[in-house]
């Protein structure tokens, strides 16, 4: 059976498609068709997209890999070849290690918080309650607000003296911290803001998945006298597996590419506490003019993302096949 698939995705989200109807899986279906005798129409149709992606993604990436072997400040005429020195420097740089750790923490946090919450909301909305349209629209709305704007309003909310968050806490006689100004709270604060921004998006992914589960199946299970939880656990959840894998991959890639919130809300501070990998790349490359280090970090980011995505797809393949 072909996997049901949600389609609410983001730029990066699309990866997920691979997980759900992974190309390798979809293949057998097309194999059943009479293989085409001629090769060129398919390739020609591929060509426009491929040319543009080659120009603006693949070639620059190859160039970036090449640059990562040099020391260069962008304006000097000749980059100096330094071999793997940039990579060695990266791993000995506390800032890079912190950015790496921040990225992992942030991505983990996004997965652990926004995916279950998104699923919860989707399940509630799938009940066809009154006002579902309203709920759905409102819950999704932060996603369409530019991060420049939402980042700013959250900066106001988090202000240690005038901010609404601390004002409310002080009503409860809690002295709120300086959220964005302290190394301990700044990253969690940015995380909460990001959960707010993206929650509705994951909710929609799950909702689309849930609505593809035929009601008949759910009802049949209910008639069997299965408990609510057990219905969810054994009927709904497994049929949602593709959506869950999808959401996980989207979430991973999206959080690994976190930039705008950090740029607007903290500038990577205080003391590097909120610098993510992408922010690190931007900062090294474009603020400190250290192109070699920035490109080396880009290559590492890419390797890390590929490995993590590959792992997820592997794991999920087993999961999806099991049922």
């Amino acid at each position: 059976m072909r996997k049901l698939s949600p389609t609410m995705t983001d730029q990066v989200g699309a990866t997920s498609e691979v997980c759900m109807t992974s190309p390798y899986k979809a293949e057998p279906r097309s194999m059943k068709l009479r293989p085409l005798k001629w090769n060129w129409p398919g390739f020609i149709l591929m060509l426009p997209a491929l040319v543009f992606m080659t120009l603006f993604v693949f070639i620059p990436t190859v160039y970036v890999i090449y640059l990562s072997g040099f020391k260069w400040n962008l304006l000097s005429a000749t980059p100096k070849f330094v071999g793997l020195k940039n990579y060695v420097e990266l791993f000995s740089s506390p800032d890079f290690r912190e950015s790496l750790w921040n990225t992992l923490f942030f991505s983990g946090g996004m997965m652990v918080i926004s995916l279950p919450l998104g699923l919860l909301l989707a399940v509630l909305l799938d009940k066809k309650l009154k006002g579902t349209n309203f709920y759905r629209t409102v819950l999704f709305s932060p996603y369409v607000i530019p991060l420049v704007g939402s980042g700013l309003v959250w900066t106001l909310l988090y202000n240690k003296d005038y901010g609404l968050v601390n004002r409310v806490l002080s009503l409860l006689h809690i002295a709120g911290p300086d959220w964005l100004g302290s190394a301990a709270y700044a990253l969690p604060a940015v995380l909460v803001m990001s959960v707010w921004q993206y929650l509705g998006y994951y909710m929609l992914i799950f909702l689309a998945g849930l609505q593809s589960v035929p009601d008949a199946i759910k009802e049949a299970a209910a008639v069997d006298g299965a408990g609510r939880w057990s219905t969810f656990r054994h009927v709904t959840l497994p049929s949602l597996a593709p959506s869950i894998v999808f959401a996980m991959v989207v979430c991973l890639i999206q959080s690994f590419q976190t930039f705008d919130q950090v740029y607007v809300m903290t500038g990577g501070g205080p003391n590097n506490a909120t610098s993510t990998l992408v922010y690190y790349i931007y900062n090294e490359g474009f603020q400190m003019f250290n192109i070699g280090k920035a490109t080396a970090a880009s290559v590492l980011l890419l390797v890390l993302l590929s490995v993590l995505t590959w792992l997820q797809v592997k794991m999920s393949n087993r999961w999806v096949v099991e049922e």
Binding site: T7, E17, M46, F52, R136, A208
Partner: protein, 279 residues
């Protein structure tokens, strides 16, 4: 079928949802509160949930602070161009992946998968230099051309295309229809929801993206909305950071995306569910 259990459950569901709605709306509401106040009142030590003063003039002032009309045109036109080209290149590529065989297909698929993981911040320097060599910096070209090929678009549409029965395609081929014709008159009419989804999501994505337009445009009449918003942020000594105007500008700049979503969201959720079930 009304039983008390059910009613209780519904009640609890509503309560949870309303709680989330409040939490989600609060920052947006605060944007609004900040947009109608004076700067001083935003930072007033008095605790307030309602605005201390209401001055709708802030919206007018924010609108007049910069030629926002031009920025809207730039944003909307450049992003429409992006999605227009993306639909063309992506539907062709998705068709190739879904319905044709050619050498290297799997490899291409793999490359496209990789392409989605590369953040713009990692590759913008070579792209910038390339575009400047052909004098496209500070033109619509710089805003549009790098995004014409979209890995995301290909995946999304391929997913939709797979739901079109292969037999239909095969039959058309036997009738002697060209691949373009099959794509145009058989496949596309069957995957409207996927197309709408692509258009809406990518429009919003590019409408909101700051980094690339910030780097590649440098004249006022090429500026787009997020860049204009980010310029409200700068805070060198002596500059008055006008929080209220920024919030006001924020609110009116999301109107197009909100509108497009109100129009399209039903399409997306329902459409997606439908296509998926059809197969």
């Amino acid at each position: 079928m009304i039983n008390p259990n059910n009613r209780l459950e519904r009640g609890v569901s509503h309560i949870i949802l309303i709680l989330f709605v409040i939490l989600i709306l609060l920052p947006i509401y605060w944007m609004f509160v900040s947009a109608v106040q004076t700067n001083d009142n935003i930072f007033s030590p008095r605790f307030h949930l309602l605005p201390l003063n209401v001055d709708w003039g802030n919206f007018v002032q924010a609108w007049r602070a910069e030629p926002f009309g031009i920025f809207f045109v730039n944003s909307i036109v450049s992003n429409l161009l992006i999605v227009f080209f993306q639909v063309i290149t992506s539907s062709m590529a998705a068709y190739a992946l879904a319905f044709t065989e050619f050498k290297g297909k799997k490899t291409i698929f793999f490359l496209i998968l990789m392409a989605m993981m590369i953040p713009m911040q990692a590759t913008f320097i070579p792209v910038y230099i390339m575009l400047s060599k052909v004098h496209l910096i500070n033109t619509y070209g710089a805003l549009v051309i790098p995004f014409i090929g979209s890995a995301f678009g290909i995946f999304l549409l391929r997913q939709g295309f797979v739901s079109v029965p292969k037999e239909m395609v095969q039959a058309a081929r036997i009738d002697g229809a060209s691949e373009f014709r099959i794509l145009w008159s058989i496949v596309l009419p069957n995957v409207k929801p996927a197309i709408v989804t692509l258009v809406l999501l990518n429009f919003v994505f590019h409408y909101n993206s700051l980094f690339w337009p910030l780097v590649t445009t440098n004249s006022t009449n090429m500026r787009v909305i997020p860049v204009a918003l980010s310029y409200f942020l700068s805070q060198d000594a002596g500059q008055q950071l006008q929080w209220n105007l920024l919030m006001a500008a924020d609110l009116f700049s999301i109107v197009p995306v909100i509108a497009i979503f109100l129009f399209g969201q039903k399409y997306i959720v329902k459409g997606v569910a439908n296509t998926s079930l059809k197969g």
